[in-house]
């Protein structure tokens, strides 16, 4: 059994986001990047399945910058092999639709039984990755999955809908899964483990496939106008607590 986990870097969303001068992309000058939280869940699920079944796990990324470090973290988390698809330094902002054919090509080479990636990335404006890969590879795919178990030629998944309702789905392998939550929360990796991997060479491959066409050239980004939003309470925590208490009293809520 061979599992491929696809990992992407995302801007750290607790930091301030600004739009660059031509309004086409976020200003990436100072922005921190982190593993997409849903890909983090996919990585954890892949390692959990490896521990449960002895499957081999390969982690894949297609990043301009930070891809090597990302994949070294994956090694520290317990994946067996990694592969970095080179996209060129100038391609920092590729959408999932642009990268999908690159992953398709790599996956056709690896021929895994199961592909796990995050259900979405918060900039997947032209489509989420897992369903696109399902269509490109013509493999069955299921998104918004929490819980994956492997059987003989099948995976049993739980797909989540609104209101806490979910369905159990049995899927023939090979299949693509857009993961929402792993069976257990992602584990912590010790810094020492990462340092041990500093010298490891991350294998790279140059893609033969072209980027997928998306509508990035037709998109303008903006910081939303929140002027109609919250009335802001100012002061330190004491002052804010006092104001909240007043508001609740005024409205008869306490």
């Amino acid at each position: 059994m061979h599992i491929a986990a696809i990992l992407r870097l995302n801007p750290v969303l607790t930091e301030e986001l600004e739009v660059d001068e031509d309004g086409r992309d976020i200003d990436r000058e100072w922005i921190g990047l982190e593993l997409n939280p849903f890909d983090d869940q996919a990585l954890e699920q892949a390692v959990l399945l490896k521990e449960a079944t002895g499957a081999k796990v390969t982690a894949l990324a297609a990043e301009a910058e930070g891809g090597e470090r990302l994949l070294k973290t994956a090694l520290a988390r317990g994946v067996d092999e990694v592969l970095l698809i080179e996209v060129g330094e100038e391609n920092v902002q590729l959408s999932s639709r642009a990268r999908a054919p690159l992953f398709q090509e790599a996956l056709e080479g690896l021929a895994p039984d199961l592909v796990l990636t995050g259900v979405l990335s918060t900039d997947d404006i032209y489509g989420e990755l897992a369903p696109q890969l399902g269509a490109l590879l013509d493999w069955p795919q299921v998104s918004a999955v929490s819980n994956v178990a492997l059987g003989d030629g099948v995976a049993t998944l739980q797909q989540e809908y609104s209101g806490g309702i979910s369905a159990r789905i049995e899927v023939q392998l090979p299949a693509v899964v857009g993961l929402q939550a792993a069976t257990q929360p992602p584990r912590y990796v010790a810094g020492s483990k990462l340092r041990d991997l500093l010298k490891v060479e991350v294998p790279t491959v140059e893609p033969g496939a072209d980027f997928g066409a998306d509508l990035a050239d037709a998109t303008e980004l903006e910081v939303p106008d929140t002027s109609g939003g919250a009335e802001m309470l100012t002061g330190d925590a004491e002052a804010v607590a006092a104001r909240i208490h007043e508001i609740l009293v005024e409205r008869g809520l306490v």
């Binding site: 639709r97 997947d124 369903p131 806490g164 049995e170 023939q172 929360p185 929140t226 607590a241």
Partner: protein, 317 residues
């Protein structure tokens, strides 16, 4: 101009989001054609009867479509798109919509835009507004038609039942050799926690950081007489049980008070609580999207605020 709308339904009732999509199609002056996938033609007809604002319905009936099956639904939507060539295919941004819109976009060679909160037609170009980076930015994409959009639930108000039941045309789709089957539907167990009916809710987000500090949150909830709730990461991390999750894949709530701390205000969270009567948000990031929705906000460390607020509430009693 014609829109083909994938109609979600459960337990014999069409989802609110399908009616919202119908209203959105009308708002750009388009005809709304629903695609209903169900177990048999009788079920298709019964569901079509709930789509009074739609112009027509295409029905696909098969045992595999009794509940949502991603493989079968993708084939049906692809076939209907290829046969009817709508200008725009619309899905909700739901679990099904995430499966279908990008998948059918690739299968039919169409472009798609997701996280859509609004549409405007400008000649042959459709301008789609989307919420990206968890609500921190908005995007405007000019899409030449034909295309596909996945629309955020709640983006527009649903239309009532204006007309009679739309005419239904059944369509044959080859669903042989499906590669997945739904074996069971799981409903949440009744645990005594009822967020949907709670009058006051205190919700904490990922910033809680672990169970060590949960007592601070429990104290606020107790002093306030509120139910404690969490955003999805809080539940996924195992800090609170699933019954306490608010949002898209949790419970939808509408309390008189929704107090929240350390929740960023991602669209999937807003989907569950944006209609609360009074929303007060505490977040250390002044750019947190939640400040666009909350009625009152404070840029403040929740770990300082929680004890201070507990003290105030307790002293005020």
């Amino acid at each position: 101009m014609r829109c083909l709308i994938f109609v979600e339904h459960s337990d014999g009732t069409v989802s609110e989001s399908a009616l919202e999509l119908g209203a959105m199609a009308k708002s750009i002056g388009a005809e709304a054609v629903g695609l209903i996938c169900a177990a048999d033609p009788g079920a298709v007809n019964a569901l079509a009867g709930q789509l009074g604002s739609f112009d027509a319905v295409i029905g696909v009936a098969d045992d595999s479509l009794a509940t949502y099956n991603p493989d079968a639904a993708a084939r049906a939507l692809t076939a209907a798109t290829e046969a009817h060539k709508p200008d725009l295919v619309m899905t909700s941004y739901s679990a099904a919509g995430v499966d279908l819109a990008p998948n059918v976009a690739i299968r039919t060679g169409r472009q798609m835009v997701g996280y859509v909160s609004g549409l405007e037609l400008d000649g042959d170009t459709l301008n789609a507004m989307s919420t990206v980076y968890s609500g921190k930015l908005v995007a405007r994409t000019g899409m030449d038609l034909p295309g596909i959009v996945a629309v955020m639930p709640g983006a527009v108000k649903a239309d009532g039942l204006s007309g009679g039941a739309p005419a239904v045309e059944m369509m044959d789709v080859d669903l042989s050799g499906l590669r997945m089957r739904v074996t069971e539907t799981l409903v949440p167990e009744n645990t005594g926690v009822n967020l949907a009916d709670a009058e006051k809710i205190f919700c904490v987000g990922r910033a809680l950081g672990g169970t060590e500090k949960i007592e601070l949150a429990e104290n606020v909830a107790a002093a306030l007489g509120a139910e404690l709730a969490g955003s999805r990461p809080v539940i996924d991390a195992g800090w609170m049980p699933k019954v306490r999750q608010v949002g898209k894949s949790g419970t939808k709530v509408k309390p008189r008070l929704y107090l929240m701390a350390g929740v960023s205000g991602a669209p999937e969270h807003l989907e569950g609580m944006a209609n609360s009567e009074l929303i007060i948000a505490i977040n250390s990031d002044e750019q947190a999207p939640i400040f666009g929705t909350a009625h009152y906000g404070a840029v403040c460390d929740m770990f300082e605020l929680m004890p201070a607020l507990t003290e105030r509430l307790t002293a005020g009693k």
